[in-house]
Symmetry: C2
Subunit: 283 residues, 2 copies
């Protein structure tokens, strides 16, 4: 039973949590906590938030569930204060795109004080950012990864999983934080970095080509327009797994180029056909 839901960071994801919770009748009181009072008021006028504050301790008081929706690096630095401000029954989760750094920080804090923390990562979002793009249906049908560890209370894991289901998630998947970070390095962080490099490559090689870009280029590089602050923190937090996925990417690219340069038409067709089948088999 969530009476008081507190959301720290009311941007695209935090704002969407607020709107979805409101739409699904979750949380008698929804509190938004952020650094910018003006932006918080906009969300309050919208009806998504009942109460807004720039004071973390005040916002977290008597919260049943806290959702940390700041950039990844900020979440790590906030955890200590969140632990001190919450009550013993307060359950804490987050929506950070990397999990190892956040979960490790939470576990360190949990050694000195009870902490009902379970990491979450809703696989939803957009290259857009800010409360203005928040949507009540952002999580509808989405996969949400939760990353409990040995120290996580089963009741807290259950509450957090049920929370996402209520918000519309199509599927709640459990992964350990390391497996999560490897997976998102491969299917999210690497593609973001590569899409950014693609845009930059056109700028370096043939900037006039932007003028004839069609749907293929637009789709492939949509996520290259992602938020600089959010993505700098994600790349930094998941640097190791990202680096390993880059090795695999460079090998895959070099192998394709080698076949093309060798003029081995049958091998190029076979490689494309194998990759096409893989892409079409996506769930």
């Amino acid at each position: 039973m969530i009476r008081r839901l507190a959301i720290v960071g009311v941007g695209l994801l935090g704002g969407s949590v607020a709107k979805a919770a409101r739409a699904h009748g979750l949380g008698a009181e929804i509190v938004g906590i952020g650094r910018d009072a003006g932006r918080l008021q906009a969300a309050r006028r919208d009806g998504a938030l009942d109460h807004v504050t720039t004071d973390l301790a005040e916002g977290l008081r008597e919260a049943d569930l806290v959702v940390l929706a700041s950039p990844v690096g900020v979440i790590v630095t906030l955890l200590d204060e969140v632990v001190r401000a919450g009550g013993p029954e307060t359950i804490v989760t987050d929506v950070g795109s990397t999990k190892v750094a956040i979960v490790r920080a939470a576990e360190r804090l949990g050694r000195t004080r009870p902490l009902r923390f379970v990491g979450s990562h809703p696989m939803a979002g957009s290259e857009q950012s800010g409360y203005g793009h928040a949507r009540a249906d952002l999580f509808r049908g989405a996969t949400v990864v939760v990353t409990p560890t040995e120290t996580s209370e089963p009741a807290a894991v259950k509450t957090v999983s049920a929370f996402w289901e209520t918000l519309g998630a199509g599927r709640v998947v459990t992964l350990d934080p390391d497996a999560h970070d490897r997976a998102v390095a491969a299917i999210s962080h690497l593609p973001h970095l590569v899409a950014m490099a693609l845009v930059d490559a056109v700028d370096r090689f043939e900037p006039s080509a932007f003028d004839v870009a069609a749907r293929g280029f637009r789709d492939t590089t949509r996520i290259a327009a992602s938020d600089p602050i959010v993505w700098e923190e994600i790349f930094a937090a998941n640097r190791d797994a990202l680096g390993r996925s880059l090795v695999a990417f460079r090998e895959a690219l070099a192998e394709l180029e080698r076949l093309i340069v060798a003029g081995d038409a049958a091998a190029v067709r076979a490689a494309i056909a194998r990759i096409k089948a893989r892409r079409e088999a996506l769930p």
Copy 2:
């Protein structure tokens, strides 16, 4: 005035030319020429084609405009026969994704016999292939590049440009074949190769990650499901420009990785912000 329009290769693009020409009342008679009589009959029953044949010479007889819509390598090998089968007034264009190889072949043939050839490349298409995906509105609003050279008859250039405008093109742009091939290397061929390598990288690094892939991965890799025969020929035909664009891409990627590994947050944010602005400025 196009009385007889002949289309060689009735797949996604050739079929869409037929349907669009029909929809816009172009060509009293539309003839489809291909290798597979069964597939041609399907298009004829559809009403997009008036007449179908597997005999190139028969199909081209008395054609006012011929559109070559086979894979790039096939177009090059067909040109000689097309020249011999067409009349002196027949205008020939194509929809190939690379232009240097095709235009050079046409110019060589033009030295011995009059040839009213103008290369075209409609920047429309899809990862799908085959007549079953052809659409009358495929070219609506699209940019079409035409690549006339010094030897192109102005009247033929005018007819081909007007043809694309009638089929719905939003813009007809003139580029020389080399500039075209550099541009499409950057904004089409490189992104296709990179999207394929991304899918393959996940397979190599963390195949279980496919299971949590969301919209970002789907959009970025949509074109990785492109047709193996078509794309092997495109990569081969534009190998040089593709290779040069790959150099620029690898430099861009290495630079981003260097900043991330160095932990230079301000520089990473500045690079992402610069790329984001470039992407958002796409026309």
